[in-house]
């Protein structure tokens, strides 16, 4: 069961942006590992961190907390954070937590790369 707390993350660099794509549910057990992965990606990103949530069918408030933390780290380092490709179930938690207006959320990865 030693791997159950890890989350697979695909990363890709495009210009001054790093695109991170976590795969699978993000909950209390995996949020800490995602946090590590995101701060690593943020270090590598020159100007922009894009989180593609296409392959995240589920997220709980630990996942949301991790993203809020990442947003704060982005602000500190003067980089931009954009979320894209949210599934309906995941979008619903952002709405419930009234965070849909706090994060920059767009549809596609391309929009995320270009979002102002």
């Amino acid at each position: 069961m030693h791997d159950a707390d890890q989350i697979e993350v695909q990363t890709e660099t495009r210009g001054d942006a790093v695109i991170v794509r976590p795969i699978g549910d993000i909950d209390l057990s995996r949020a800490p590992h995602l946090r590590e992965q995101l701060s690593e990606a943020l270090r590598e990103a020159e100007a922009r961190l894009v989180i593609n949530l296409d392959d995240v069918p589920y997220m709980d408030s630990s996942g949301v907390a991790t993203l809020v933390e990442t947003m704060q780290m982005c602000r500190k380092s003067g980089k931009k954070l954009v979320l894209c490709q949210l599934q309906d179930r995941v979008r619903s938690i952002f709405e419930i937590a009234r965070l849909d207006m706090v994060f920059t959320i767009v549809e596609t990865t391309d929009e995320a790369i270009n979002a102002g």
Binding site: D5, Q72, R89, S92, I96
Partner: protein, 171 residues
């Protein structure tokens, strides 16, 4: 079956381990689907249960992984069909009115779980158990939005779609 005093349809005893959350919430989400909740609602019910379990792990058992949690689930029938979830622990007791989320305007990590639970569920009640530990009872009722069709909750395209007893005599 509808009697609140009757034994639950499902009663899961689990350890206070984050890695067990996904099994627990998938059980509840799946049961909710069979009760007729639509896909988004099933996700939300799973989320409410997940948040409640996270809080027991984090605050009740203070991240110990050998605490015990009991997750009881009933399908409600009759006039107000829905789902009833009762979660019990033998962890630290707190005053029910101390269990509340922070102000949402103050955006910072954490402090959303209890708010989410209240947003999703129609009834939420925390009690101190006489035998020690806490009890959380939550109910969500089926609404008119819940059932786009009698047995599937996805929106369906093309073709004739029939299901249910009402249709079986048209042959």
């Amino acid at each position: 079956m509808n009697d609140v005093a009757s034994s639950p349809h499902l009663r899961l005893e689990m350890l206070s381990q984050a890695r067990l959350l996904s099994a627990a919430r998938s059980m509840v989400g799946n049961f909710a689907q069979r009760l007729g909740f639509n896909e988004v609602e099933c996700g939300q019910i799973s989320l409410a249960v997940d948040e409640a379990l996270c809080n027991i792990i984090n605050h009740g058992y203070e991240k110990r992984d050998d605490g015990r949690i009991w997750l009881n689930v009933w399908g409600l029938e009759g006039e107000r069909p829905g789902i009833r979830v009762m979660i019990e622990d033998v962890a630290r007791q707190v005053e029910p009115d101390q269990i509340k989320s922070r102000d949402l305007d103050d955006v910072r990590p954490g402090g959303l779980g209890v708010f989410i639970i209240h947003e999703i569920m129609d009834e939420v009640k925390y009690d101190k158990r006489e035998q020690g530990g806490m009890r959380l009872t939550m109910v969500k009722y089926l609404s008119s939005d819940s059932r786009p069709s009698s047995s599937s909750n996805e929106t369906r395209h093309e073709e004739s779609s029939h299901s249910g007893k009402g249709n079986t005599d048209h042959a």
